[in-house]
């Protein structure tokens, strides 16, 4: 999992690279919360380009991270979500509070890799 941080925008992009299920979520939760408390970002983007599978455990995990990020005064967005995972997002209604953005290439160029977690 790769973390990219843009200090001037306080933007943290986390590229998740796992199949997200109950087993993986336990470890993801801890790692992601570590990074969030380390940078206290104003905005967090979860990049799903390398996520080939997700089930409802992922929804719970995202809602949990959303709460943490909001509590610290930041926003959460998602990008590069595949069709199957988007279907799960739509059924759950999560996109009403965590928006799906088209592209975040622009941030990737501005930011630097701050570590693989």
């Amino acid at each position: 999992m790769e973390c990219i941080y843009v200090p001037q925008d306080k933007l943290l992009t986390i590229k998740i690279a796992e199949e997200i299920d109950e087993n993986v979520v336990k470890k993801l939760r801890r790692k992601i919360d570590n990074e969030i408390t380390r940078f206290m970002p104003r905005k967090v983007i979860f990049d799903f380009s390398n996520v080939s599978f997700m089930d409802s455990a992922g929804i719970g995990m995202l809602l949990g991270r959303y709460k943490v990020i909001r509590m610290l005064g930041g926003n959460l967005e998602l990008c590069h979500v595949n069709k199957q995972i988007e279907k799960i997002f739509e059924i759950s209604g999560i996109l009403k509070i965590i928006p799906l953005i088209k592209d975040n290439e622009i941030y990737e160029y501005g930011g630097k890799n701050v570590g693989n977690i």
Binding site: D21, N23, F53, A57, G60, G64
Partner: protein, 164 residues
């Protein structure tokens, strides 16, 4: 065991969440005999993952037990039965309700049955408190010929649009 079905298989494994990936990948590999599309296969994987997760964290509440997965194939459908001998469900209708969860403290979303219901064509839940739960799901797979025809007609439509 063999009889009215074209093929059958049965898996049994210990209720560890590290077995979720094993279960969904095994079922997907078995289902691939029906030549499902990538979307159909992804639906099956997601539904199996939900059912198995339920056995592990709700049925056995993270204690050790046995999860059973049985699959039956017949020309254009697959039936998947996921069962446990765990604590069972008191009120099935309530459990099926979207966003209802007994484990909100564990960041569960309460979407498991909703996802199984919308990704599969049929869903049946049987449960006896303190005896166990059995979830039976069925998915119809579009035969390969129809898929080819669909692709052909899409190809023809785009050809017509381009004026070929």
């Amino acid at each position: 065991m063999l009889g009215i079905y074209d093929n059958e298989m049965k898996l049994e494994f210990v209720s560890k969440s590290s077995n979720e990936a094993f279960a969904r990948i095994s079922v997907a590999a078995f289902a691939s005999q029906l030549d499902p599309s990538i979307d159909e296969l992804a639906d099956i994987k997601t539904a199996v993952s939900e059912a198995v997760t339920n056995c592990i964290i709700h049925g056995y509440e993270n204690t050790i037990g046995i999860v059973k997965v049985e699959c039956k194939l017949k020309s254009n459908w697959i039936e998947i039965q996921v069962s446990d001998n765990g604590k069972g469900i008191e009120d099935i209708e309530l459990a099926k309700r979207p966003l209802y969860t007994t484990k909100a403290n564990l960041e569960r979303s309460g979407m498991g049955f909703t996802i199984m219901e919308s990704f599969m064509d049929e869903l049946k839940i049987e449960s006896i408190p303190n005896m166990g739960t059995k979830v039976t799901m069925k998915k119809y797979i579009t035969p390969l010929d129809d898929k080819n025809n669909e692709n052909m007609s899409i190809a023809n439509q785009s050809k017509q649009k381009e004026g070929i």
